[in-house]
């Protein structure tokens, strides 16, 4: 990590925390702070990505604005976190995607839709595109051939996986643990990811936009995260069915991919919609405005992915299926392509930071 104003400010604030320590019980960040007296750039990147932005420390802080020291840990760490997304981006040239991330994601959605719609409308004869195809195996491929879905999907998603992996490596080299990665530490980190323990405050939950604690954000994030994972599982199942078992989509409602996708889609809609609604009434104090674009854009992308997926489910068997399929795949294409260049990366870095925290906790040293 480069020494920037954001980094220096975060370091100064963390040093104040280290002399106070009142917030130790809120989350993993403060016990990690207490293990050290000096904070390298990598340490700060680690702490920033460990922070889940629960804001317990902000509302509890005796030095928070308007105190003359203006300590604002959620805000300062969010800015360092944003910096870390750029610095670990791979290939490094694409780090610029994080500069105006809201615009980039919105552009990607638009481009995905335009490309898919132009291709389908241009290449597929009207009679086939607008025909009411019965819901029988192979119906989707009347509009977009299976091979094309497979090639484009594998290429974009595969590249994104490689880029995310490179990002994870770059994070770990700069901000990762020096201790041995043990199975226990991995399990502990997975547990923290799966339960979002660090959005639990000290047991009472997060501060949403005031001193009041609630579990709202944790539950909405669960809905979104598990919704996303279910949808991803649906996609994988569909891919295996088609590519290896020869069972062509679309599948009946009571089939594994459709049930997983429907459930996941509903979770995604509820989670992203709820989190977006929370942004509308957010407290501007701990939330850096300059990062709002990236947050909202990813929520929007996931929301539209789910919405268009459910719409496709509802419209298959009608004459609108062709267009609905193109729209859904356009959004999914945007999602696949921007995966390593959106706030999605927070999952990777936070998971890695939780792993380092678990390693250090067991080692007991910094």
């Amino acid at each position: 990590m480069q020494e920037t104003d954001a980094l220096r400010e975060a370091r100064h604030e963390i040093e104040v925390c280290n002399a106070c320590r009142y917030c130790e019980g809120f989350c993993a960040v403060f016990p990690a702070v207490n293990l050290r007296r000096e904070f390298s750039a990598g340490d700060l990147s680690y702490l920033a990505n460990l922070c889940h932005n629960c804001r317990g420390c902000y509302y509890a802080c005796q030095y928070a604005p308007p105190h003359e020291w203006g300590i604002n840990i959620p805000r300062s760490l969010a800015l360092v976190r944003a910096q870390s997304y750029s610095e670990y981006a791979w290939p490094p040239k694409l780090a610029r995607a994080f500069e105006r991330n809201g615009v980039v994601l919105a552009g990607a959605i638009a481009a995905g839709l335009v490309v898919m719609l132009l291709l389908t409308i241009g290449l597929v004869p009207d009679a086939r595109l607008y025909a009411a195809h019965p819901v029988v195996p192979g119906a989707f491929y009347q509009v977009i051939p299976l091979w094309m879905m497979q090639v484009v999907g594998l290429a974009t998603f595969g590249f994104s996986l490689v880029a995310l992996g490179q990002g994870a490596l770059r994070f770990w080299r700069d901000a990762g643990g020096r201790g041995k990665i043990t199975v226990r530490a991995v399990l502990a980190a997975l547990h923290d990811v799966a339960t979002l323990k660090n959005l639990g405050g000290g047991g009472g939950g997060c501060n949403d936009n005031s001193e009041r604690f609630s579990m709202r954000r944790r539950r909405l994030h669960h809905a979104m995260m598990y919704g996303f994972l279910l949808c991803f599982a649906a996609t994988c199942t569909g891919f295996v069915y088609d590519s290896f078992l020869g069972w062509a989509a679309p599948y009946p409602f009571f089939s594994v991919p459709v049930l997983l996708g429907t459930l996941g889609g509903i979770g995604l809609l509820a989670g992203t919609g709820g989190l977006f609604a929370m942004k509308l009434v957010d407290d501007p104090g701990p939330a850096p405005r300059e990062l709002l674009g990236a947050d909202v854009a990813l929520l929007g992308l996931l929301f539209f992915a789910a919405l268009t997926g459910l719409a496709l489910l509802a419209l298959r068997g009608t004459g609108a299926m062709g267009i609905a399929l193109a729209v859904h795949l356009g959004v999914i294409l945007a999602l696949f392509v921007t995966l390593p260049y959106s706030k999605m990366v927070h999952g990777v870095y936070r998971g890695a930071a939780l792993l380092r925290a678990a390693i250090e906790k067991r080692a007991g040293v910094g």
Binding site: V16, C20, R21, Y22, G25, G56, C57, Q62, Y63, G201
Partner: protein
Amino acid sequence: MPDLSKPYDVLVAGGGNAALCAAITARQHGASVLLVEHAPRAFRGGNSRHTRNLRAMHETPMAPLTDAYGEDEYWDDLKRVTGGNTDEHLARMTIRASSGVFGWMRQSGVQFQPSLTGTLNLSRTNAFFLGGGKALVNAYYLTAERLGVDILYDSEVMALRLEDGAVRRAEITHKGFPCTVTARCVVAASGGFQANLDWMRQYWGDAVDNFVIRGTPFNRGRLLRNLLDQKVAAVGDPTQCHAVALDARAPKFDGGITTRLDSVPFSIVVNRDGERFYDEGEDVWPKRYAIWGRLIAQQPGQIAYSVCDAKSVPLFMPSVYPAVVADNLGELAEKLGLDPVKLRATVARYNQAVRADGGKARFDNTKLDGCATEGLDPPKTNWARAIDTPPFTGYPLRPGITFTYLGVRVNDRAQVLLEDGRPAANLYASGEIMAGNILGRGYLAGFGMTIGTVFGRIAGEEAARHARN
């Protein structure tokens, strides 16, 4: 803005822990309550916003408290720190009540956490608030709002009009505008006067200009002064305050806990003239922590400098400010604004006195190790080691005032007593404004919050009962 023309059952003056405990309890007993907080919302909570724990008696382990801390041990601790400057009846009552506050605190939204890193010695006696005192204050305000306590920020109770031992009306200012409130009962919970520098100046002279006030700038003692002027009985020495050594770079007010410095026992401390003035190694730091504020206050310019070498730096918690570091003592003196010749001479004399010891005792930072100087005045009686290993480290120190002891006398029902010994008919007190009844001298970590919680609840309940009868 609440309707101030209607009479309230209970008016609470103040907005810290003691005030909130009184307001919530009074409301829970059916009273209509108005709480008047001098600070704006962002700085609400008085000194409570800087606290972190509450000292509680318990006979068996009681999460988050470990082991046991019985009434007699608690009382012995209090007797020791106050030198007997306490009221045994009120003290024991407070101690006993402290074991029963947790259920109510939790119901009111307060969360606890295990003893903080570096405070393991307190895990048996003190229950730490999750997030510290401001989080506790936040929880109480939410509870008070939910229960329907009316709250005024930026508002101060200026005067209570006492006639025949009863409060007839209260004069307050709200955002600078004066208004009158009628209330059947009043709870005074507006703290001490340590932030009122003009009042402090009466006892300390212009030295107060160099004092740091560790807590809220809103504890002006206005209501305390007003009551003492109306034949309310006083308690506590008005000239005394709890004063510790702080990093001199601390802000004038509200610096809280992070400006404290624990370097004294492993340093030598010199004044502006580069001279030592007190035995830095007299006792373990928690026991001597609270005398150094006064010692520095008595030095010219109310400033002192803690000087040590590289050997000592890892032995204490640093303050939030960077240490002043230099490769030699002359350079350090210059950076600190001291006369290099003077400082070098003082250190040389000290080092010689250390070496004169002949190595009878072994340095041990965890106990009184008997490593003492010989033939030095004042001596350093423990942890005396030569200051000879660069880089050399210094911190400027100033007196930091935590609270004052002067208060109003109360009885065990939290009723304020008049000079003739009778209780005022409808006036109660809790928190720092009456803590001097029990803690007349010295300091016991977390005991202020105990007094505020216990007496706040008593005052709230008594006031509500009286108002509704």
